[in-house]
């Protein structure tokens, strides 16, 4: 990965000035590169990873991973049915995968009922959806490379040769 992207993927709030210092490039070059990435869609969005378990707020959604088997269609393959599914705002992620099913769909809702309703009334009855298997998520340990607990630190002595 490009140096700038790597730094941003770890801390999206870092300033162009700081990135310039870390990479040895000029601030103008960094700003230009970021603009380019944003424009071309390489940088999609700047987000924050929130540990909702700790926040215990309205954001503490129920999340389900759903294995969806579908029948691909002539000419468009999986694209059409995938789009039908991922366009629902309840769907937070959608992947085409190899293996015993086709689409891995991540759905979020306020509680188990809302998620179940979505699956039974929207997803399962959809034309070309052959079957679904739903796994409610019980606990998040790690997300996007980030372990979601305060890791121990400060085991080093403060000074040593």
């Amino acid at each position: 990965m490009d140096d700038i992207l790597e730094i941003l993927s770890n801390d999206s709030r870092i300033s162009p000035e700081e990135i310039a210092k870390l990479t040895g490039k000029s601030v103008a070059d960094i700003k230009k590169a970021i603009k380019k990435y944003e424009k071309s869609g390489i940088i999609v969005k700047y987000k924050t990873i929130i540990n909702h378990d700790l926040a215990r707020d309205a954001g503490s959604f129920v999340r389900a991973l759903i294995e969806v088997s579908v029948s691909p269609q002539k000419d468009v393959g999986f694209e059409y049915i995938a789009e039908r599914i991922y366009s629902f705002p309840e769907v937070t992620s959608c992947y085409l995968v190899s293996g015993t099913y086709d689409l891995l769909v991540v759905v979020e809702g306020e509680n188990i009922q809302t998620v179940s309703n979505f699956i039974s009334s929207k997803l399962s009855p959809m034309e070309n959806v052959r079957s679904t298997a739903t796994h409610f998520l019980l606990k998040k340990y790690k997300e996007d490379g980030q372990v979601l607990k305060n890791t121990l630190s400060g085991k080093r002595l403060n000074i040593s040769y």
Binding site: D3, K21, L22, G24, R156, L157, N158, I159, S160, Y161
Partner: protein, 384 residues
């Protein structure tokens, strides 16, 4: 009863530094730039390997020289990485860190009245291990005008009667300075001319940022002149495992092994297990850490120069060695005052030899957030 301590030991250890270290260790909420080890935890695959080796019951002694599998891995690695040829059975010894290697090397070669050339500033144990072995240190002083590098001319001129060996550490703790292949070739020439043995501590070799590291032993005709020391602490963030290695001429390695078998017996088996895994599957983690250090290096050098603490760009390791002469304070005063007023810890240059007065060692093996905060605090301290 009046207990009499060995004269050599009594003479050792600069007491001022020890008092300063105690001060730092007892203080809370310190941002520390004073640490001589990575801020990364040992990569998980290495830790996991050690855990499972314990579960499998690997808890015994190993061969004095170290596990054959590890020695083979090391020679294989050196061949692949640097084109170096060492025989795993006769020319390799696994040590308890490079620190043991330094001590063994000195005790294996020094006779009374022998002298050893030691660059200054240098890592704190170099002088003491020469003296403990009964030798005499001949300092090769360097400063900012030579970029903290020893020169072939300097070595040549210092080679008076009784000079037997040269110790060298590159990339260097505390200055971060390293040597290019060309510079090493020039050093090799005077080493050969004067028939010196070189104890070459290259434990920071993988943390060389702007050019490829060249082991001194890989320079033409140098293998028989070099006791090559390296280890796992820095590159693989394995400091606490205490694991290093020595490669060198059979005669020297044999002599070192003799001492090692009586005083240490063998390096710990879990460290050796971890080291095998590090060499097999540790390369990517090491590269990731190196990349991170390289970024922080740029940040800290730029920031210090902006604050008026003039600072050269180090070639490797994770230290910068800025001058604090502009403050008019001694390195010890600077370190103590900065600690008391702003709770930032660093190591005063004087710890690394008299010629390092006027400098401090800052370790950038610390998170970017910490470095940023430390720079802000140093700025506050200087503004006063």
């Amino acid at each position: 009863m009046e207990i009499e301590i060995s004269k050599i030991v009594e003479k050792m250890a600069p007491s001022g530094i020890r008092a300063f270290f105690d001060l730092v260790l007892n203080m809370k909420d310190v941002i520390s730039l004073g640490v001589g080890e990575p801020d990364f935890v040992t990569p998980w695959n290495i830790r996991e390997k050690v855990i499972s080796s314990l579960e499998q019951g690997y808890t015994s002694y190993t061969s004095n020289k170290g596990m054959p599998e590890l020695r083979k891995q090391i020679t294989g690695f050196l061949k692949k990485r640097y084109g170096l040829d060492y025989d795993f059975d006769n020319e390799v010894l696994i040590t308890v860190g490079v620190s043991e290697g330094l001590d063994l090397a000195m005790r294996a070669i020094i006779n009374p009245k022998d002298k050893v050339l030691v660059p200054e500033p240098i890592y704190v144990s170099y002088g003491p291990v020469v003296e403990l072995a009964g030798g005499t240190v001949v300092p090769l002083k360097t400063d900012i005008t030579s970029g903290f590098k020893i020169t072939p001319k300097q070595i040549d001129q210092a080679c008076t009667k009784g000079v037997k060996a040269l110790m060298i550490n590159y990339p260097c703790n505390p200055t971060g300075v390293s040597y290019s292949k060309k510079e090493l070739e020039a050093i090799a020439k005077v080493v050969k001319k004067n028939g010196l043995l070189v104890i070459s501590d290259e434990v920071y070799d993988e943390l060389t940022y702007d050019f490829d590291h060249t082991p001194l032993a890989s320079i033409n005709g140098m293998k028989e002149h070099v006791v090559y020391l390296n280890g796992f602490s820095k590159a693989y963030a394995m400091t606490g495992f205490r694991l290093g290695w020595v490669c060198g001429p059979k005669k020297v390695v044999n002599a070192m092994t003799k001492i090692h078998q009586y005083t240490i017996l063998c390096a710990s088996i879990d460290g050796q297990m971890g080291a095998i895994e590090a060499l097999r599957n540790g390369f990517n983690s090491m590269q990731m850490m190196k990349k991170e250090y390289k970024r922080r290096r740029r940040f800290i050098v730029d920031s210090l120069n902006e604050l008026g603490l003039s600072c050269h760009m180090p070639d490797g390791a994770f230290y910068v060695f800025p001058s604090i002469k502009s403050t008019g304070q001694s390195s010890m005063d600077f370190a103590q005052n900065l600690l008391k007023e702003q709770q930032v810890a660093l190591v005063p240059g004087v710890a690394f030899g008299k010629s390092a007065e006027g400098y401090v060692r800052i370790s950038y093996a610390s998170s970017y957030e910490n470095l940023k905060e430390a720079v802000a605090r140093i700025k506050k301290y200087l503004a006063k």
